[in-house]
Amino acid sequence: MSQTFYRKGFLALAVATALGASSFVQADLKIGVAGPMTGANAAFGEQYMKGAQAAADEINAKGGVNGEKIVLVAGDDACEPKQAVAVANRLADQDKVAAVVGHFCSSSTIPASEVYDEAGIIAITPGSTNPQVTERGLSAMFRMCGRDDQQGIVAGDYIVDVLKGKKVAVLHDKDTYGQGLADATKAQLTKRGVAPVLYEGLTRGEKDFSAVVTKIRSVGADVVYFGGLHPEAGPLVRQLREQGLTDVKFMSDDGIVTDELVTTAGGAKYVDGVLMTFGADPRMLPDSKAVVDAFRAKGTEPEGYTLYSYASIQALAAAFTGAKSNKGADAAAWLKANPVQTVMGKKEWDKKGDLKVSDYVVYQWDKDGKYHQLEKQK
């Protein structure tokens, strides 16, 4: 009895091993997509996954990369640094991915990128803008977006030149990304002679900012700049309006580029007039027309970081194909030497892994809860 059991068991094991081995032979090119798939910022993870999946499908339909199909592996960091490291280790050791598209929050990308660096995995982040992401000398860390020291300059200049802000309140969410960006904006404002009258941090996850709003009122600020993400930006702008500060301009960053801002603010009328900086809308480029139409035909709008994620997969595929190798180091070396034609236009990277050209522009939300790129003011 027990002997047959063992024999059956061994047989099953043998079959399983054979199956495993055969799937190993036809190895797919695994690419991790890491970001906040759950938690308060899950909207961005959704954008990442949507863009990456569409790009992978497109490339696979054309024959894949070096004869292999791209298979995406999702990694959920919930925008928490600790979980990001765990996810990075899983992607590197267990899933054995060749490349990673991710992460989203800079505070997650920075520790996770150390793991990828040790494992020789090439990583490209569609949305982490903190300078430290590429400033630590990692050889295979790239980004598809600009840097906060560029974004802060654009925001600071806009506040001084267009909004004519005299008393600016600068707030942040005490996170690597939010505070880093607020610092960059503050530096630019100070350089332009409009030192902020208020500079303070909020706590991520809280919803009551009425004390800070009252303080903004007491200093008589005419512009409020917030470095952070939409779960806090929404309630903040609503409470500003509810305390009667209806004329104060509210400006934020590329962390609120999702229609969920309307939900967190409690309605489109509260986001009306909100300004934000973000890369020039890739949906308006001629290169992206076919892809955008394909998304819209399926009933989804490729908003925010969707096309950034799409372009990241394209860049990785081009690098692996161009280097004729699935090794992270080869692909990274190739990507630093060659431009790639992506859905967002032709992109080139410098030695650090930053884009050679990045163009932040200012967007405005309207009373219907949609955002539009404003004309470039120079």
């Binding site: 004390a211 800070v212 009252t214």
Partner: protein
């Protein structure tokens, strides 16, 4: 300047009354069975979802007047959240009534994780929101400045104090209240005198959940946005409020909540919002050094 100061007081009072409502759940459960119900923050979070669901349902049936909407939502949310409170007691506490002190603590943390993940899976991980129910605000001119209070905030203050008053009445003057107090003083003696203490414990969990539900409806109305993780921070704050006021003491929970709310808002208003939590917790440490039982708590007398 005086207008600003008053405004900060109002901000703190609204925030604090909500902390107080949730703190009641912690303090009552502790008073009766000497345990911290770590799933209580999640009960609040569930009630926020229930409030949104009930608002959507009522709107679907064409009910649009504010009193009817809020009454229907309160009834529905309070009832269903009460059921949650009862079930949590049945599943996580009752089977462990006679085990070590740590066992129910762990099972409550387990329930808290289960509830978080259950909501995340069934309702999605995205931010949820409800539309503004009560528009408009009152503006008082004071000296050089002004104080502005939205009608929603006035309603919160009113509802919170009515809720607390009602609960105090129940505990002080009704039979149920007497049973609760008797069980709190000496569970064994109470059961010898014919009180079904198991049932009293169930009631206490339901009362705690009902207060959390009231807070859930009020907060959802005020901030309009929540997610499955919303119970965590506010749960910790309410727990702090309960300890501050003296855990086990009902008026202590309310007082603790209000002190915490006002100190947070005054500190961030007058000094710096970065360190408001540091300030609140330093206050807690100071109070516990000089009054280890909390502001209104009874000192623990060891029986020899």
């Amino acid at each position: 300047m005086d207008g600003i100061f008053l405004q900060q007081l109002v901000n703190g009072l609204t925030l604090g009354s909500v902390y107080g409502l949730i703190a009641i759940g912690y303090t009552m459960v502790y008073g009766i069975i000497g345990m911290i119900n770590f799933a209580h923050g999640e009960v609040y979070m569930i009630s926020a979802y229930l409030a949104a669901i009930s608002l959507a349902l009522l709107a679907y049936f064409g009910i649009e007047s504010f009193p009817l909407l809020i009454l229907g939502t309160l009834l529905f949310t309070v009832f269903v959240t009460g059921v949650y409170g009862w079930v949590i007691e049945r599943v996580a506490y009752k089977p462990l009534r006679n085990s070590t002190r740590l066992a129910p603590l762990i099972s409550a943390i387990g329930i808290s994780l289960i509830l978080q993940n259950y909501v995340q899976i069934s309702q999605g991980a995205r931010q949820q929101g409800v539309p503004t129910l009560l528009e408009g605000a009152m503006k008082f001119d004071i000296g050089t400045g002004f104080v502005q209070i939205t009608y929603t905030k006035l309603f919160i203050l009113l509802a919170a104090f009515v809720g607390m008053g009602l609960l105090t009445y129940i505990i002080k003057y009704t039979k149920l209240g007497r049973m609760c107090r008797a069980t709190q003083q000496d569970r064994k003696m109470a059961s010898i005198l014919g009180i079904n203490t198991d049932r009293v414990i169930s009631y206490v969990f339901i009362i705690g959940a009902v207060m959390a539900a009231l807070a859930g409806v009020l907060i959802t109305m005020n901030y309009g946005t929540f997610d499955f993780y919303a119970g965590f921070i506010i749960g910790i704050k309410a727990f702090t409020a309960a300890v501050l006021g003296g855990i086990g003491s009902l008026p202590g929970a309310m007082l603790g909540g209000i002190i915490l709310g006002i100190s947070e808002s005054l500190f961030s208003g007058l000094v710096n919002s970065d360190y408001k939590d540091v300030f609140s917790f330093s206050l807690l440490v100071l109070i516990l050094i000089f009054r280890p039982q909390g502001l209104l708590g009874r000192p623990h007398v060891a029986k020899v």
